[in-house]
Amino acid sequence: MADINSESAVNAGQHQTPKKSGKCSPVVLPEKAILLGWLRQMLLIREFEVRTMQAYQNRLIGGFCHIYIGQEAVAVGTIAAINPDDPIITAYRDHGYALARGMDPKHCMAEMFGRIGGCAKGKGGSMHMFDAAHHLYGGHGIVAGQTPLGAGLAFATKYEDEVLEGGESNHVTLCYLGDGALNQGAFYEAMNLAGLFDLPIIFVLENNGYSMGTSIERGTTMAHELRTKSEAQGIEYTMVDGKDVLSLYQNFKPIVDWCRTECRPYFVEAKTYRYKGHSMSDPRKYRTKEEENREESDDCIGNLSAQLCEEHDLTPDAIKQMTRQVKTQVRLAVEWAKQSPEPSIDELFRDVYTDRWGPYTGTSKPQMLDIEEEA
């Protein structure tokens, strides 16, 4: 067991001033094959979201559904910078993270179709993508609700290293939030605890300019200088370009490395733009067509394509081929999801407890479910 008698930061609370990193200078980019993989992932997410909107309009998807188009570089670039077994947690605009993390699109689509083949057996839907195998801890529907949970994931990885046998994995947790979450108390409590307890977590603010129909200036103070949000907690801040995955990675990766080495939190703002409405029901009357056109002309996929063509000899034909492959993959995912059966009514009562408890019927103890005891 780790030394428990040292003057631990856990109870000392001596971190009013941020440590100077100073070492977070941009890293070099990985090899071309990896960069092509990023482009492919971003194309995949975009195509997936196009087909998601289509399926929603065809009533294959119900409930609330939030589209990630325009923001693909943030999920892909940040996840590329961490280890595959580092935990991540996010809010409800979560399809892109699931795919970037490696979830098969068919499970993601089937979840939204409410089918048993979905990543959560159709119990979570669009807003609640969970994938234990890929260390995705959700998909959370309440704005900023995921931020204390994220602090908990980071707390746990640190505890695993310091207290449990076989530690020293030195994980970094990525906790994503939208700009709407800046105005929830839970986020500030989470940041305070992360700073106080020296948690290895990066709060990635995905600033797309709007919390539903409320522009960021209408919702938060110091909207032009969001570094102030974390500086008050003694947590360092950096802004990255959410539309340029290469520069995002180059600037984000050193922050990941710093958090891993120093076991400290960080606040990163990724400036981006969501092309579609807040959810499928949003007519976007709160912003102008001119603004949308301007933002869409600076597109993360267009930017990466151009960079790869200029500097890595990628050809337009190769991009077309990649696009075709992705379209096929998503089309097959949709087909697979359609074929996946609806969950049986038994599923209604499973996973409420780890015990085999069914529902209260009003006149008895909970009924024991007639299911196999799982190992």
């Binding site: 969970f130 908990g152 207290v163 449990l164 008895s364």
Partner: protein
């Protein structure tokens, strides 16, 4: 030495401490966090000495930040740690409603069984003694409405220890409701290892004329009322439910089938309450056996008052219970 062990009497708060300490010795994934639990030795001295034994990595002082630290503990539980979260009062859990109700209770279901939440939230529930409206919450009726959580209300030190050890070992979120008024009460608690399974009510007093069902602190008044009523020739059976989720309605119904009358004493408000739920279930199960409808005693339907006499009048008390039993048994 053996004799001393067998007759050992300790306080409720010591029983809670023993339960936590024993489980922490056995399982390094278990840790305690909350306001003043470490350096201050617990606002109510429940965790006294635990910092010295387990160190600051496992007995963790948090700031006054219930939403933050409850959520943090839920996140840690999702990774397989087994946090014990101490609320200085369950009244303060209201600002943590999202993590404890939305996240802890629903995580397993929402994730299709992938991420569980083995966590214990524990602390003082109910009136402490002239704490007035904001600090006297009885959360059981409100929170028991939520599927996915378990709920425990121990009455004495023996149950407090056995039920808390069971709660810490449970793979589901357990809401463990203690009472400030019970922390200094004592009873026999063996040194030998034991746990008490959930869903097993305890008959605290045998009787034949009327069944009184309650949980936690009001049991004290139920037992007091039973003694008073015995003088009038009314022989009461007092059933301690021990856990609300799961609810041992079978033991309660068996008692009611024997006595044919029943009073449920629930310290929360009457509207849509644990008491109304139990009454409803008993009316369905014991429809043919009951000589009267199930009577209920609750806190009055007003915010908890500060003034001593008003608070005493507000809470379920011996007088109210006696009146209800007399009415239920047609002895008015």
């Amino acid at each position: 030495m053996t004799v001393a062990t067998n007759n050992r009497v300790i306080e409720y708060r010591e029983a809670l401490r023993e339960a936590m300490s024993e489980e922490m010795r056995q399982d390094e994934r278990v840790f305690l966090l909350g306001e003043e639990v470490a350096q201050y030795n617990g606002a109510y001295k429940v965790s006294k000495g635990m910092l010295d034994e387990f160190g600051s990595r496992r007995v963790i002082d948090t700031p006054i930040s219930e939403s933050g630290f409850s959520g943090m503990a839920v996140g840690a539980a999702m990774r397989g740690l087994r946090p014990i979260v101490e609320f200085m009062s369950w009244s303060f859990s209201l600002v943590a409603a999202d993590p404890i109700l939305n996240n802890a209770a629903k995580m397993l279901y929402m994730s299709g069984g992938q991420f569980g939440c083995p966590i214990v939230f524990r602390g003082n529930d109910g009136a402490g003694g002239q704490l007035a409206s904001t600090h006297s919450w009885c959360v059981e009726s409100m929170y028991a409405n939520v599927p996915g959580l378990k709920m425990v209300i121990p009455y004495d030190a023996y149950d407090a220890k056995g039920l808390l050890k069971e709660a810490i070992r449970d793979d589901n979120p357990v809401f463990f409701l203690e009472s400030e008024r019970l922390l200094s009460t004592t009873c026999h608690v063996p040194e030998e290892e034991y746990t008490i399974p959930f869903g097993q009510a305890l008959i605290r007093r045998q009787g034949t004329h009327c069944t009184i069902i309650s949980f936690g602190r009001p049991l004290h008044f139920c037992l007091e009322a039973a003694e008073e009523l015995a003088k009038e020739g009314i022989d009461c059976e007092v059933v301690d439910g021990r856990t609300i989720r799961p609810l041992d309605i079978d033991t309660m119904a068996a008692s009611v089938k024997k006595t044919s009358t029943c009073v449920v004493v629930d310290q929360s408000w009457s509207f849509a309450s644990v008491g109304s739920e139990i009454a409803s279930q008993l009316h369905a199960i014991c429809f043919e056996d009951l000589d009267n409808h199930v009577h209920r005693v609750h806190s009055d339907d007003v915010p908890p008052p500060y003034a001593y006499n008003l608070e005493q009048a507000y809470l379920p008390n011996t007088r109210k219970i006696c009146e209800a039993v007399r009415s239920a048994t047609y002895n008015t």
